[in-house]
């Protein structure tokens, strides 16, 4: 090898070795930078999470104090620090619902239920938003999801969701579904739960009065001293023309609540019981007498409301004739009842019952008409 060739070779070796050293140094620097960045980003992430958690707790405390607006700011701050913070999104969504900012709340809550489908409270809030905007299908789906999800130990419960679902179904005029949902809710509620009374009212409004009365009766028996429920039971029994049950319920209500207005209902029930010719185990003469009492009351009311006109009205004349006859000459109580019903039909619209007897007259006539 010549001297120039040797020096070229040496130079090449130096170049090569220097190139490798340089490359190794660069990669070593990259490694050091990577490790340093890893440490820094780890600490950074932990600090972000700590700050996010602190903001979340601050927001919760503000919500507990009823300060929704600053709580929302705190939840937003938490989310800025941890954009994936599911709890912050959830709390923010609920707080926004509280302030009526439904559109934004829905976006957050949807994210929550997409990521955690068992978050019942989020489903419930979404259902409420949908119900407010009358999107019944969506609301029903959300309520059902809420009912089947997991619930926190405190606060609202699965049964609250069921009750709201029933209300929604009633609003949506899905009567059959509402009655079925009430049945499920009844089974889940304890017998002395006051919401049983609410269910009974809903059943009654759906035309299921017998079931409603059963529910209320069971509840009043279990609860024992819920005067309001006894009063509602009395009213319900009145609408079912079960005057004896109604009187018993009103009496119990009066006993518990001492309310004077309920005593009027007791009097009404007693009047109705006295007037009702269709009561069980009555003798024929008693029926006839009660029929005559009905007609007399109807005629008196007719005379009070229509004055002199009654003198020439054929029904009034016939009523007077019938009342003048002894009961033994009347074929049956139906003669009195039919005439009393006719007089009531002729009554002017402004003619209202003023006494328990007159109201009882209307009730009994209604019962007889219904039967």
């Amino acid at each position: 090898m010549t001297s120039s060739g040797a020096s070229d070779f040496a130079r090449l070796r130096v170049m090569l070795s220097w190139s490798w050293v340089r490359t190794a140094l660069v990669f070593a620097l990259l490694g050091v930078l990577f490790v340093a960045t890893s440490f820094a980003s780890g600490a950074y992430r932990r600090e972000r999470e700590r700050r996010a958690e602190a903001e979340l707790e601050r927001g919760r405390a503000l919500v507990a104090d009823g300060h929704l607006s600053p709580a929302i700011d705190a939840f937003r701050s938490s989310l800025e620090l941890a954009r994936d913070g599911i709890d912050a999104q959830y709390e923010l969504g609920l707080a926004l619902v509280g302030l009526g900012q439904d559109a934004e709340a829905r976006a957050y809550l949807r994210t929550v239920v997409d990521r955690q489908p068992s978050r019942s409270m989020a489903h419930l809030a979404l259902a409420r938003i949908a119900a407010r905007t009358r999107r019944f299908d969506d609301a029903r789906r959300r309520y059902e999801a809420a009912i089947t999800g997991q619930w926190p130990p405190d606060g609202e419960s699965r049964l609250d969701a069921r009750m709201e679902l029933i209300q929604l179904l009633r609003e949506a005029r899905l009567s059959r579904e509402a009655v079925a949902a009430i049945g499920v809710a009844r089974a889940e509620l304890t017998p002395d739960d006051p919401r049983q009374a609410e269910l009974a009212a809903w059943l009654a409004s759906e035309g299921q009065r017998d079931e409603a009365a059963d529910v209320l009766r069971a509840y009043t028996e279990a609860a024992g001293n819920d005067g309001g429920a006894f009063a509602r039971l009395g009213h319900l029994e009145l609408t079912r023309f079960q005057f004896a049950s109604a009187r018993a319920a009103f009496l119990r209500a009066v006993e518990i609540t001492k309310a004077k207005d309920l005593q009027e209902f007791v009097a009404l029930c007693e009047s109705a019981l006295r007037l009702d010719p269709s009561g069980p185990r009555l003798r024929t003469r008693t029926r006839l007498l009660r029929g005559r009492d009905l007609l007399r009351l109807a005629a008196a009311m007719d005379s009070r409301c229509r004055g002199e006109v009654t003198a020439i009205d054929p029904r009034s004349v016939e009523a007077a004739r019938l009342l003048a006859l002894p009961v033994s000459r009347v074929e049956g109580p139906e003669s009195y009842v039919d005439l009393a019903t006719g007089l009531r039909a002729a009554r002017p619209s402004g003619c209202l019952a003023t006494s328990p007897e007159e109201r009882a007259l209307d009730l009994v006539l209604d019962k007889l008409a219904a039967s």
Partner: protein, 632 residues
């Protein structure tokens, strides 16, 4: 040049691509650290201010601006000014050299200024940090000169991609604003660096996009009209925004160094005072943009916030507080778009249930396009930020309108103005985009001045050439097919002196061939030393359409120079020249000829595509710059 290897390897492009990945990794890691540092600084500053008097909130940004400005004024002078301009300057002026102190200075100064809530953004500093790292790596790996120049933009793309978490936007921005040319080799490197940086950034900072963008639906035709209004509004306001920033920068620039940190502190006080009344304007502002995207503010609030933020940004920029303009521009655009959209909802032009997010996104894109004159970047930025394809149509409409509206109102693009202010004669890529080169077909001579055959007498040809005022003759030889060559006047005269009688005895030089659609630049290259070239049809290669002479090409350039309007003064419109503009430094102290010389000095036979892109761009850029100088 120091470190230039003795020979070129065929593996250079591959090495460059591998280096691009390495640059992306480095830039990604450093930008992640930058991001963490800004947030950590912000937490520290807010913790300091928390629980104290309101004055503390005013003093935090003021102190930050003071310290940051002092850092770039006294300790890291190379880190002052715009990152993008510095990167372009590295490409065109200093062979891609960006001093290491720029990286450190930019990192520290912007951490302090942005972390203390000043109304600027981290993207431009990240761009410069990326470019600086790339420049260092290019030096370490001893890249060739042309590659050394282009490694800066590769790093810039990596930096901006890591900062924005938007790789496509970064690629387009660098192509549009820094390099100004599409070239496969450069594009590949930039893409690789951006992707690499974004992968690193997402590894450490997560996959979340910059904004939690709501779902944007397909816009009905009536809504498109509102988007058009957003575009026009952005165009009008962007012109005012740029003018205000430029005017303030001109007015507030100071010759005395010690005054600069004090001015910056004054800007910080403005930021702090504004934060007392509008805390949404404090800091970079991405959180507020996110809120606006979700429709949390009415249009009245958006107008107020946008105005305050734009004013603060102009003040901070004018006072030389370190930081970038991207984030504030997006903020202002978001406010314009959101305000127009919400107003349209209120007056019933669009449905009240229309999400505001679409208008906000379009506003951001349009304002960005109008301020930075980077329409393609802005379109893809909105696409990338929103991850929604349906938003593209409104964005294109609004961006185009914003771009068209702002151009006559503010003829100088923002970064061009910054470059001029910093006494740098850098090529304007907007001008380059519109540069219409001369075509050979425009310079065509249908008949050769002196057309000869080998049998023609030399003396007669000399006489004919003299009559025509040319110093060559075109020779047609027929050996089955036509062949075209030329004989220069000197050769003819020498032949005549030596007693040569006919042209056939004189050695003729083959004539270069051109096509009608070749550019004048290409014609110059093809001509080389030849005084004339034959122009042939592309469809019928032997069909001669005419001739182009060197003189006609040069005459076309001379005509173009004469037609160019006078050069614009590097000051804000209506303002006197900057009294305290930074004096030209060693890297910038030139009249353009150095840069032109350097760029044209690249070996035209490089063949790797990278330098070819530089050279092609350089010649056009130099032509434009020369034209402006001549006009001025």
């Amino acid at each position: 040049m120091k470190g230039v290897p003795p020979s070129r390897s065929s593996a250079e492009p591959q090495r460059f691509l591998l280096l691009a990945i390495l640059i992306g990794a480095f830039a990604g890691l450093v930008v992640v650290c930058f991001h963490i540092a800004i947030d950590a600084m912000s937490w520290w500053a807010l913790d300091v201010a928390a629980g104290r008097s309101r004055a503390a909130l005013v003093l935090v940004p003021a102190g930050g601006a003071l310290l940051a400005s002092a850092l770039v004024t006294f300790a890291f002078k190379a880190a002052s000014g715009s990152g993008l301009t510095a990167t372009k300057s590295a490409v065109y002026v200093s062979d891609g050299e960006i001093p290491p102190s720029t990286i450190v200075g930019k990192f520290l100064a912007c951490t302090v200024s942005l972390g203390t809530g000043n109304a600027l953004g981290p993207e431009d500093p990240a761009l410069q940090i990326g470019a600086g790292l790339a420049s260092r790596l290019g030096r370490v790996f001893q890249l060739q000169r042309g590659q050394q120049r282009l490694v800066g933009p590769v790093g810039a793309a990596a930096g901006i991609a890591a900062a924005f978490n938007t790789p496509i936007t970064a690629v387009l921005f660098v192509i549009e604003e820094v390099i100004g040319a599409w070239n496969a080799a450069v594009l590949g490197s930039i893409v690789l660096a951006s992707v690499s940086a974004v992968v690193v950034s997402r590894t450490f900072l997560g996959n979340d996009p910059l904004f939690g963008t709501p779902i944007v639906g397909l816009a009905p035709p009536a809504e498109l009209g509102v988007y058009a209004v957003v575009g026009v509004a952005c165009g009008l306001l962007a012109a005012g925004y740029v003018r205000a920033a430029a005017w303030l920068r001109t007015r507030l620039s100071r010759e005395q160094r010690w005054q600069r940190p004090l001015l910056a502190a004054g800007a910080g006080v403005c930021v702090g005072v504004a934060a007392l009344f509008a805390p949404q304007t404090f800091g970079v502002g991405y959180t507020t943009i996110d809120s606006v995207l979700h429709g949390r503010y009415p249009w009245q609030s958006l107008v107020v916030l946008g105005t305050i933020k734009a004013a603060l940004t102009a003040v901070c920029f004018g006072a030389g507080v370190p930081g970038g303009m991207f984030a504030p521009t997006l903020f202002a655009g978001a406010m314009v778009g959101g305000a127009v959209g919400d107003l349209a909802r209120e007056v019933g032009v669009v449905s009240p249930s229309t999400p505001i997010g679409g208008f906000v996104l379009v506003g951001m894109g349009s304002f960005f396009a109008a301020v930075f004159r980077a329409p393609m970047t802005s379109i893809f930025m909105v696409f990338e930020v929103s991850a929604s394809y349906v938003v593209m149509l409104p964005v294109m409409i609004a961006n185009t309108l914003a771009y068209l509206v702002t151009r006559p109102l503010q003829p100088t693009p923002f970064f061009d103005w910054v470059a001029q202010f910093e006494r740098l004669a850098l090529p304007s890529h907007e001008e380059l985009r519109e540069f219409e080169p001369h075509r050979v077909e425009d310079l065509l001579m249908r008949q050769a001045p002196v057309l000869a055959t080998p049998k023609d007498a030399v003396a007669a040809l000399l006489e004919r050439a003299s009559d025509q005022g040319v110093d060559f003759v075109v020779v047609r030889t027929e050996n089955g097919v036509d062949r075209w060559s030329y004989v220069a006047g000197d050769d003819l005269r020498r032949a005549a002196d030596n007693g040569v009688a006919v042209l056939g005895d004189v050695v003729a030089t083959p004539m270069p061939a051109l096509f009608p659609d070749d550019t004048s630049d290409g014609a110059l290259r093809a001509l080389g030393a030849a005084p004339c070239a034959v122009v042939e049809s592309r469809t019928e290669p032997r069909q001669v359409l005419g001739w182009v002479s060197l003189d006609s090409v040069l005459a076309a350039y001379r005509d173009a120079v004469g037609a160019v309007e006078p050069e614009r003064a590097p000051t804000a419109p209506g303002a006197p020249p900057p009294p305290g503009a930074p004096p030209p430094g060693p890297a910038t102290q030139h009249d353009g000829s150095d840069a032109a010389g350097d760029l044209l000095a690249v070996d035209p036979g490089a063949g790797d595509g990278v330098e070819a892109a530089t050279t092609g761009r350089a010649s056009a850029g130099v032509a434009a710059a020369d034209a402006r100088r001549a006009g001025g």
